[in-house]
Every structure is written in structure tokens, then in C-alpha cells.
Amino acid sequence: MNPQEILDKLPYGKSFLFVDELLHVDENGAKGTYTYAKDLPFYEGHFKNRPLTPAVILTETMAQIGLVCLGIYLLKNMETDQNIAIAMTSNAIDFLKPVTPEEKVTVTSEKIYFRFNKLSCKVKMENAAGEMVCKGNISGMLISKENE
């Protein structure tokens, strides 16, 4: 399964999709990038006169690239023609540096385990300068559903 096929399977609409490119994915992890456009709606309020990317959005970006893209790849290797639902069930993230509008970030994940449909990953996000922006662990349940 190639990266484009995985991107096509992502369940997010345009307003909540935080993956631009999936650079690499194999059974042990995924790597991808996203650039935060300056007109994203949350910048207007987070914060007044000082736009910064909310931590919850950074977490979501790491989950979409690191956990969901990897999860689709892993499930796809097991079964075919099924839709996939994914729920983040826990995360523990350290935030080290702010991310401003128009920054491009790279997310890398490493699988810790994938058992009984629960995927747990170590994730990190780096900015264009290669500095660590945030890192931690994210877990989720992957449920593959019959095509409707």
C-alpha cells in the first residue's frame, strides 16, 4: 500500500486534515509533513494578536500522521476493502517549542505495540530547522468496518 492510497483513506474533511505528505510508512512507523496555513480558523483566537498553533492541534497532527496513517497501513496489510474507524484513547505529550502560522513540521512515529487492535506509538514533531517541537506517546483503537 503506497502513501497516496493511505492519504485517500484518511477519514478527515478539509477543515480538520493535518497531513500534507506521507514521506514513509512501514510496519514499524510513519513519517510525514504538514504546513499550518496562516488562515487556519483557530489562529484568530489562539491568541488574540499573537497567533500560535494550539497544543491540541499539534497533538492531532501527530496522531493523524503518526498513528492513523500507520494504523491504516497496518490494518491494510491484514485485511482488504474495509473502512477504518480510529479513536485516540490516550496520549502523553511534552510541548517544547511554539509553532507559528506557516511553519512546516515533520512528524515521525515509531510503533511500540499493535495488539488486539490497539496501536501505541512513540511520536515526535520537528520544525523546519530540525528542532524538536513536541514528543510523547499516543495510543488509539483501530476498528475496521465492512464497506457500506
Binding site: A87, Y113, F116, N117, K118, S139, G140, M141
Partner: protein
Amino acid sequence: MNKEEIIEALKTIVQPYSEESTALTQIDENTDFINDLKINSANLVDIVLDIEEKFNIEIDNDSMAKMLNVKATTEIIAQKLEAHAG
């Protein structure tokens, strides 16, 4: 390891995954992980992984699917321990 000892070990494993303090103090064979202890499916996976580590056994998908209460879980652990010993 007898049944009582397995249940004792299970109590320790399950504790961090439930907020139901009353139900936790009353754990016995009839305790259901989902209905009594309000444990979700993601934490149930962690419990099974903790069981594997604690008892040094491997739980397969079929066994996992049955491990929804203390009774079934204790039986599966006992079976795997016996298979291990034999």
C-alpha cells in the same frame, strides 16, 4: 498458582484502570470488567498486556475476546500457566 492467588494478582493489575473504588474493593469471580469496573476496550488491551507480563504467558485473540470478567480471565490464565508447566 491457585485461583485465589491469580485473582489477587488480577486485582493489582486492574486497579490503575478503574475509577470505581467500591467495585474495586469487592472484586471477586463475578466482577465484570466493563459493567462493574467501567473499563473501556483500550484499557482492556493494556490489562491483557500487563497479564502477559505478570504471568509470563501469551494471550491470543480468541482468549482476549473472552477476557471480559474475572472468572473467564482467571480460567484462561490458569490454563495458560498449566500449558506452560506441562
